[in-house]
């Protein structure tokens, strides 16, 4: 069971992200979408319990990652996010998938392949594909080959998720 440490520096995360971006180019992925979990932990250091409220990070081939998270968790989340200041919150009556679709649009990802991490839950993927209906030229594929090639550690970390309020 891997131990969580706080020793990993922001620079290390930047190096890991750059490596993923290289792999994305190699595998032809215009974007990669992750929910919280081991891959997010490895690439960004952000550890967040999964709940029905979508908390996601989107990588594109260049630039910093973009974040999508619940509005009322913003303060707690900002304490954890070390890389990327494109943070898009969704309020309780809003759609997180619209936020993800908005990131793709703003970053010029209008066609081509979007990689979904294998553990992304169907309702998140389904929400994204429906929110992106205006860009029907997007193709959703598994991000796993690119993640593996970039050496992303996909081992589930110890500890438990949370569901509270």
């Amino acid at each position: 069971m891997p131990q969580q440490t706080t020793e990993v520096s922001t620079e290390t995360y930047r190096v890991r992200i750059a490596k993923l971006q290289e792999a994305m180019k190699e595998f032809g992925l215009r974007a990669v979408v992750l929910e919280s979990g081991p891959a997010m932990m490895y690439l960004t250091g952000v550890r967040w319990g999964r709940s029905e409220r979508t908390f996601a990070v989107v990588f594109t081939q260049t630039g910093d990652p973009a974040w999508v998270l619940p509005g009322f968790e913003e303060m707690r989340a900002r304490e954890l996010i070390k890389v990327g200041d494109d943070i898009r919150v969704w309020q309780e009556d809003e759609s997180p998938y619209q936020r993800i679709a908005g990131i793709l649009k703003d970053r010029g990802v209008a066609l081509g392949r979007v990689g979904m991490e294998d553990s992304v839950r169907f309702f998140v993927f389904d929400g994204v594909r429906q929110a992106s209906r205006q860009t029907p030229k997007l193709e959703y594929v598994s991000a796993q080959p690119a993640l593996k090639s970039a050496g992303v550690d996909l081992t589930p970390p110890a500890g438990r998720g949370g569901r509270k309020q």
Partner: protein, 382 residues
């Protein structure tokens, strides 16, 4: 909390609860599971029939579920690594959660074309594999079927939820009797877990002290209990898989005028939500009713803090959070058998937060709380 982890340690916990190092109020607890009636096979069969009716309505040829609460709901089993397929016609099928094998099972059930409903927690990898192995099937969300069944609770389900709520109140009473100067939030959390174990079930709750009560999900900052601190505990346990979710907020010591005023306001907001949760009303109206009490007092508006930064409540059943929510925009009509939390938090960053959370179920005659609401800031239990 991940309840299953607690369940795993529950048996060991009964022995541990007898150890003398536990605080007196917890040592005195006795298991509360006598007479619990599990869901019967006949009730599960009726659920499957209802699922088929909804599948027909939503034009699904089959639904595909992997291990999780919906699988448990229909089958009474939790089978990691297995998938359960319910075709519109014919018998349900168990198969390894492997796309090639699942696609074969679908073909064997004469489901080769049409629409396949995927349970919403299924991983993208399963979707990706199934579209390759069964390319003529169109994958859609099975939620109209799974939630369509699960949102409406039977009397047997309400009885299990009632028990989980009753146990949680007893655990909280015992744990709040252990408050002492200097204890950490983790000490209190551990006492709550120990109380649940002594009561015979798996459960736990987060504990938050002082200004950190403003963070709806707490803070990792170390906290030591001081005279005058707000104390917030939130979560619950499960009985036969059915979850409780209760929050109590109180003060360690004598409350200030400000603490009392905000607490009273919170209680009025919780009451307003309860009064609005009438059968036939739209879910969003319940949120609006609670939020109005808080914004009329000068907080907010909307989700702005200081104020109520989140929805007023969520559905509850086999998942602690499930369909449907008391949230703006949700026009779903409230129906008898639905179960919800009622928990409009008031967040004042830098000062404190107050959340009172009780769960309710809807009857023909209106909403009924599972638990007695907290009557006053210095009386967590009614």
């Amino acid at each position: 909390m991940n309840r299953r982890m607690f369940l795993a340690s529950a048996i060991a916990g009964v022995a541990a609860a007898q150890q003398s190092d536990l605080p007196e109020p917890i040592r005195k607890l006795k298991p509360m599971l006598d007479g619990v009636q599990p869901i019967t096979a006949a009730e599960r069969a009726a659920r499957v029939e209802k699922a088929r009716r909804l599948m027909r309505e939503h034009r699904m040829s089959a639904i595909y579920l992997e291990s999780g609460t919906s699988m448990y709901y229909f089958t009474g089993k939790r089978e990691p690594g297995q998938a359960w397929i319910l075709p519109l016609k014919g018998e349900p099928v168990w198969t390894p959660a492997d796309p090639a094998k699942a696609a074969q099972a679908l073909r064997d059930s004469s489901v080769a074309t049409g629409t396949l409903g995927l349970e919403e927690q299924v991983r993208f990898a399963a979707f990706d594999g199934l579209r390759k192995e069964a390319p003529a099937l169109e994958a859609v969300s099975a939620t109209p079927v799974t939630a369509g069944c699960r949102m409406i609770k039977s009397p047997a389900e309400i009885a299990l939820l009632q028990r989980a709520n009753d146990i949680t109140i007893e655990a909280y009473k015992a744990a709040l009797a252990t408050l002492r100067e200097g204890m950490s939030q983790r000490d209190l959390s551990a006492n709550i877990s120990a109380a649940f174990r002594a009561l015979g079930t798996g459960g736990g709750a987060m504990a938050i002290f002082g200004k950190y009560t403003a963070f709806p999900h707490g803070s990792i900052q170390p906290q030591q209990l001081r005279e005058g601190d707000m104390v917030l505990i939130d979560d619950g346990c499960s009985v036969e898989g059915y979850q409780s979710d209760i929050t109590r907020t109180t003060v360690f010591g004598k409350p200030t005028k400000r603490q009392r005023e905000i607490w009273d306001l919170e209680r009025r907001a919780q009451d307003a939500a309860l009064a609005a949760a009438k059968p036939g009303a739209a879910c969003e109206g319940v949120d609006a009713a609670a939020r109005k009490v808080i914004t009329d007092a000068g907080f907010g508006p909307g989700y702005k803090t200081p104020g109520l930064p989140h929805r007023t409540g969520h559905g509850i059943g086999l998942d602690g959070h499930e369909w449907t929510n008391f949230v703006k925009g949700n026009k779903t009509k409230i129906e008898p058998g639905m179960c919800f939390s009622d928990e409009p938090t008031i967040v004042i960053y830098g000062e404190f937060g107050v959340r009172l959370e009780d769960c309710l179920y809807i009857t023909e005659n209106g909403p009924r709380m599972f638990t007695k609401q907290s009557p006053a800031i210095d009386q967590p239990f009614g």
